[in-house]
């Protein structure tokens, strides 16, 4: 046994070293040069040459930086009209200045920074950014463009330093800087109000600080080591805060860190406590710190945007109650649902809307000839329903009756307020989704049949068995057929006024399509409470924003017949992208991670 163990030991000792010879060599060079320089600095004659070298380095860096700034800022004000995606990101910057709530598929940091830059440079947020080509006229757009160009300019010194550190080769670093400075794609992207310069800035900063802390590996826990490590974490948070594409740089840093830790762990001269310290330091700086920053960015985002705006509809009713100007803001309604209340019922999935009915029948040949039930996105009197007990038709608002709350599992009837028909379903196929059952309005003055009975179920029973306005998620289960009320999200033809189809689905899956919540609630017998009580907590808001963003991202797929560039087009510069009519430019997405250093390392 002992020889085997010994062999294993030797093997495990040798393997990593052999595997990692390249970085080790690089590191070894680094280690050697530092003492050499230090030693040389003691000697008089070498001192001046070392000083000369340092001065030369600083001078080169300064030249590179200057050149990069000059190229990026050259004729920055041209063209004086909206170019390409400026129409989105400029608009979103204005939203921050105006505190208007909006929705975008990217995290907020980039647009917040654009907004901040605009605010500081005196832009008042009044320009509409309607479409590419609109002239800016008297509006001050230079602050925002300047800010993007400013961040974009840092890309080149960062890349220069990264390559210098990785390769220790002066010409290689200069070559990188030159390539990047004169890359037309990079140049163009940095000159407009876009997220990309900001994203590239953070990615490159993360890269640089990662390389720097790697080269500090021989002095762990020293001040520069901590500095670069935490700077990596901060840049990671920045990259992720701008676009989700930032996840890739996180992946790269993560892999680097894991291999680094694996290496430390295998070093038997280090005690487990030391390894533990290393691990903790990385968890703190690369996981906890970025997370805290990221959450802070979101908290700021939500704090700043406190007015109702174009993004309201994407979010739940409870979320909307926060936004001033929204009809739900500062409203006061009864808290718990009671029989006899007049309510609106909203679907949980975004862009579906309210349960709706109107005095039009389903056309001949489509299910039974009864009144249509649809969902409708806008507020309307036809969205109002009265919730009643299934077995009595007496007026529950009669003051002689006591208030009775609706509870989880109750059998109820929903009567349409305007037409006094009951929400009804039966074994007829739905108009568009053939496997589902049709939902109609049936009966007169609330008198129908047993197909009008629905069991009300609360999905998240955090609030006990009562049903809380806005917060409780409820399902309506048809008593006779056992199906669930839902909206398929499909648009009805002209006979249905292009509203959305409502069906009763026999598949009891819990999807957002079949979950509803109560939004408006009118009941004179109940005391009104302010909606502030119902406001969701920050963690709920945070989660909801992410769910909506992810769903939005999934929705962004090119259609079949659209022209898009494919990933393999990018490296070979297959086709350009037209930014604006006046400016035919050549967009190249330059991968700024390791690829920059690969040719250099080979050299």
């Amino acid at each position: 046994m002992p020889p085997a163990i010994g062999g294993g030991l030797a093997g495990s000792e040798l393997r990593p070293r052999r595997g990692r010879c390249a970085p080790q060599a690089a590191r070894a060079v680094g280690r050697d040069t530092v003492p050499q320089v230090a030693a040389r600095s003691l000697k008089r004659p070498a001192w001046s040459s070392w000083r000369f070298e340092t001065a030369g380095r600083w001078a080169t860096l300064a030249v590179v930086t200057l050149l990069s700034f000059v190229t990026r800022f050259h004729r920055l004000d041209q063209p004086a009209h909206v170019c390409w995606d400026e129409t989105h990101f400029g608009k979103m910057g204005s939203y921050y200045i105006n505190h208007t709530f909006f929705f975008d598929v990217h995290p907020p940091l980039g647009k917040m920074l654009i907004g901040l830059a605009g605010y500081l440079s005196g832009y008042d947020g009044t320009f509409l950014f309607q479409k590419p080509g609109d002239s800016y006229q008297h509006h001050n757009y230079m602050g925002m463009r300047g800010f993007c160009a400013f961040l974009g300019s840092w890309l080149i010194p960062f890349a220069y330093l990264t390559v210098l550190d990785l390769s220790k080769s002066f010409p290689a670093a200069l070559l990188t800087a030159a390539l990047l400075t004169f890359d037309t794609g990079c140049l163009t992207l940095s000159q407009y109000i876009l997220l990309d310069p900001i994203l590239m800035f953070f990615i490159m900063a993360a890269m640089l600080s990662m390389v720097k802390y790697n080269s500090c590996a021989d002095r762990p826990f020293s001040a520069p080591w901590w500095f670069w490590l935490s700077l990596t974490g901060i840049s990671l948070a920045g990259a992720l805060g701008v676009k989700f594409v930032g996840l890739f740089i996180i992946l790269q840093v993560g892999l680097n860190t894991i291999s680094d830790l694996w290496h430390l762990f295998g070093d038997l001269s280090l005690s487990l406590v030391t390894v533990g310290k290393h691990l903790t330091a990385r968890i703190l700086c690369l996981i906890v710190l970025p997370l805290v920053l990221y959450v802070t960015i979101f908290a700021l985002h939500i704090m700043v945007l406190n007015k109702s705006g174009p993004g309201d509809g994407f979010f739940s009713s409870a979320f909307q109650a926060r936004l001033s100007g929204n009809s739900l803001h500062n409203a006061s309604i009864p808290e718990h649902l009671a029989y006899g209340s007049v309510i609106t019922v909203k679907n949980l999935r975004m862009a579906i809307g309210y349960l709706h009915s109107h005095r039009h029948l389903y056309p001949e040949g489509i299910g039974a000839l009864q009144q249509q039930v649809t969902t409708y996105l806008h507020k309307d009197y036809n969205n109002l329903w009265i919730i009643k007990k299934h077995n009595t038709n007496s007026d529950p608002l009669d003051p002689s009756f006591p208030v009775e709350f609706v509870r989880h599992g109750d059998i109820v009837r929903l009567e349409h307020k305007e037409t006094t028909r009951n929400l009804h379903s039966h074994y007829h196929e739905a108009p568009l989704t053939r496997k589902h059952y049709q939902v109609t309005g049936y009966g007169i003055n609330g008198t129908g049949d047993s197909n009008d009975f629905w069991r009300i179920e609360v999905v998240n029973r955090k609030f006990g068995n009562r049903i809380k306005v806005l917060r409780s998620r409820i399902r309506f289960i048809h008593l006779v057929t056992g199906c669930v009320l839902g909206s398929s999200g499909k648009i009805l033809p002209k006979w249905g006024w292009e509203q959305l189809e409502v069906t009763c689905t026999p598949y009891l899956k819990e999807t957002a399509n079949s979950i509803w919540n109560i939004e408006d609630h009118i009941n004179p017998k109940l005391p009104n409470i302010s909606l502030d009580v119902l406001q969701p907590s920050f963690s709920e808001i945070f989660l909801e924003s992410h769910m909506v963003m992810i769903r939005g991202n999934n929705g962004l797929k090119p259609k079949d017949n659209e022209l898009t560039s494919k990933p393999w087009h990018w490296p070979i510069n297959y086709q350009g992208l037209r930014f604006s009519g006046a400016n035919d430019t050549d967009l190249r997405v330059y991968l700024l991670g390791n690829p920059v250093s690969i040719p250099v390392l080979n050299a």
Binding site: A4, I5, S12, F265, D560, L563
Partner: protein, 695 residues
């Protein structure tokens, strides 16, 4: 004693090399046959056959997905072409083989689950092959565990678990593909292990070759049955790659020897699978030569290669399009629907619903049905006549043409007016002269995309062409949007200005005849008719294969929902089942349902393996070796195959957006089942023993 070979599966590996020595001994000694029969294996096979074959033809009714696969079997029997996007054709062909052996004539209407089979359907033989595959999976898993260097007892355990897992039993007793897939997956793993174990002592021996080749063959069979088989293929190939990498580092081998090893592996694991995969398609296309219900999805050239259908129309039509030709133009991309360039008397509405204006000229659309309005005449801008010259003047790449709509004799036109639904593109219309200083812009330059030289002529069906507008350099394109009611819900056609290539800009001539409006010249035309080429011969197998494969991969089924569809997470917790069949009177049912004990313990085994593996790995990194080197390498290989097999067959489903069912989990489950007894043996061998030794 039966034949010399019977029951010798166990020793088969050592046989060929000993054969010669035995032959010599046979001359000296009396004839003695020693058979080494592993009764365990025989018993397992017997039990497997019993559980899978017993009362196989019950129920005599269509059960669940048999309704799909049965259709395809019928198509094979009738040699009718079909397109199924669910997987390559090998699995379907195996099922059809069962039908062929049972003498099935394909006459059964597979329309409803639960329908009784008529007497001409050989239910038993149709279900035989999947059942056999299911039965043989049991001894194969026994062998796998043995080859992983675990004990007979462990191997028995694994095989018994496979034997009694009710989900596997249910799935193997019906005309379904999973049991075939599982069998070939396991066979691939087994043969790789046999190959790997013979690597040490007898490389390049016959059985070394046999197992190596069998690995490649069974991998390609698995991929040929369902695309899912590619996961196991990847697993085997990557394990082989790691082993090959170690081989390259082995200093004791000569360079030639290493090279030979690598070549052998490359041939067996890369070349043979590709070759076999093509072979499956070749047989598939050979078998199905009649046109059928899915013709429309395929390109005109493909359709023309099938017997009946379009071939009947296109047979004998002139090959080269000439000035004066009458043609129908089909869009090559054909999405969302296959359609033909179309126009009709109705004009674009003066003002659209959103307030934008149009040219109010005649609509040009793409129409998904054959129609008299799909005919266009190719006209030379320099001449007025609409008939073909004598001799016909073929249209070549780069020629300027006008397209005349056959029924209305208006010219295809595009101009700088926004298209109705895609305002960034130009409107395409048939020009009407309203005399409002909007001149006709009806010249189009012909661009043959798949030309071989710049002098190529425009060929019926074969040529894929683009029409580039001369004035604006816009390209005629199918935008994919459906026009509103004023356009009769037909598809919108636009002029796309931005550069770039997309298949929706490409068109081909499908039906074609020379203009013969001047009847008297008919005879002369016939005399000078061009060479007629049988187009079906022009389309090579590779062209047909690549088109079929591409269509299979890109065919989008409408998002539908199914009562029993489930998510990957529900599989592990067994939160889902599938009702396969319900007896119409007695309410007897067949459900696909996992065995909760096996599923839970197998999942626990996976977790235990992962934790133990990382624990050992970290301790080894700190130079504490809990396991002897041998045991460690066995432990790693077993984990790579079983845990890796489970992970690679399971985790990708989280990224898939299609409808998923419980049976998609079964291949992953088999790997997990193999791991369970392995973990138990490991615990008893290494962990419990430590406890005993200490006091």
């Amino acid at each position: 004693m039966g034949s010399h070979w019977a029951g010798l599966e166990e020793t088969l590996g050592a046989l060929p090399s000993l054969l010669f020595c035995k032959m010599l001994r046979f001359l000296k000694r009396p004839l003695v046959v020693t058979a080494d029969i592993n009764l365990n294996l025989v018993a397992l096979t017997g039990l497997g056959l019993l559980t899978r074959l017993w009362q196989l033809s019950y129920p005599r009714a269509v059960v669940f997905d048999e309704v799909y696969y049965g259709q395809y079997i019928s198509f094979y029997m009738k040699r009718i072409f079909f397109l199924d996007d669910s997987g390559p054709p090998f699995g379907h062909m195996l099922l059809a083989l069962g039908g062929y052996l049972g003498g099935f004539d394909g006459n059964f209407l597979w329309n409803r689950i639960g329908a009784e089979y008529s007497s001409n359907v050989p239910v038993w033989s149709l279900r035989l092959l999947p059942a056999l595959a299911g039965a043989l999976s049991v001894p194969v898993s026994y062998q796998i565990v043995l080859e992983l260097h675990f004990s007979h007892c462990t191997a028995m355990g694994a095989a018994l678990l496979m034997l009694i897992e009710n989900a596997l039993i249910t799935q193997s007793r019906l005309m379904l593909l999973e049991s075939l897939l599982i069998f070939f997956n396991l066979l691939a793993v087994l043969s790789y292990l046999k190959f790997f174990n013979s690597q040490k002592h007898s490389p390049f021996s016959p059985h070394w070759w046999l197992w190596l080749m069998l690995t490649g063959v069974s991998c390609s069979c698995a991929v040929g049955i369902k695309y899912m088989g590619i996961f196991t293929y990847l697993l085997v190939v990557s394990i082989a790659a790691v082993h090959a990498w170690n081989l390259i580092g082995d200093q004791t081998l000569s360079n030639i020897c290493v090279f030979g090893h690598l070549i052998a592996r490359a041939v067996a694991l890369l070349v043979i699978p590709v070759f076999l995969y093509l072979l499956f398609f070749y047989v598939h296309l050979m078998l199905l030569y009649r046109s059928g219900p899915h013709d429309q999805i395929m390109s005109s050239a493909f359709q023309a290669s099938l017997e009946g259908g379009l071939a009947r129309i296109t047979q004998g039509q002139p090959l080269e399009v000439a000035f004066g030709s009458q043609v129908t133009l089909r869009n090559v991309f054909g999405k969302p629907l296959p359609c033909w360039l179309h126009s009709h008397k109705n004009t674009y509405p003066m003002i659209y619903e959103n307030g934008r204006g149009s040219s109010h000229q005649q609509q040009v659309t793409c129409y998904p049905f054959k129609d008299i309005n799909n005919w266009w005449i190719i006209k030379d801008p320099g001449r007025h006549q609409l008939v073909v010259n004598n001799p016909p003047r073929p249209v070549r790449h780069g020629d300027i043409v006008q397209l005349v709509h056959g029924m209305t004799t208006r010219l295809l036109n595009t101009h700088d007016v926004a298209a109705p639904l895609s305002p960034h593109s130009q409107e395409v219309s048939c020009y009407i002269d309203y005399n409002i200083s909007m001149p006709a812009q009806n010249l189009w330059k012909l661009d043959i995309v798949n030309r071989e030289s710049s002098q190529d002529t425009w060929k019926t069906i074969l040529s894929e062409v683009r029409f580039v507008h001369v004035n604006t350099s816009a390209v005629l394109k199918l935008s994919g949007a459906h026009l509103p009611d004023w356009g009769f819900r037909q598809l919108e056609v636009v002029g796309e200005k931005s550069r770039g290539h997309h298949e929706s800009m490409v068109w081909n001539v499908e039906e074609h005849r020379y203009g013969k409006s001047q009847e008297q010249k008919e005879r002369e035309l016939e005399l000078h008719s061009p060479t007629q080429v049988d187009i079906s011969r022009n389309l090579s197998f590779m062209a047909r294969f690549s088109e079929l494969q591409w269509k299979m991969l890109t065919l989008k089924n409408e998002d539908s929902e199914h009562k029993y569809s489930s998510t990957p997470l529900e599989w592990v917790t067994l939160d889902t089942n599938i009702a396969y069949w319900l007896h119409p009177r007695t309410s007897a049912q067949i459900h696909l349902l996992g065995n909760i004990v096996i599923w839970t313990s197998a999942s626990l085994a996976t977790v235990a393996y992962t934790l133990l593996f990382f624990w050992y790995l970290l301790r080894r990194r700190r130079s504490i070796c809990d396991l002897p080197e041998d045991a460690w390498s066995h432990w790693v290989l077993a984990g790579a195959l079983c845990t890796g097999g489970w992970a690679i067959n399971y985790l990708p489903f989280f990224l898939m957006e299609r409808m998923l069912f419980l049976y998609h989990y079964l291949p992953a489950l088999t790997f997990q089942i193999l791991l369970l007894p392995i973990i138990l043996q490991h615990v008893s061998d290494h962990l419990c023993r430590c406890g005993h030794n200490e006091p």
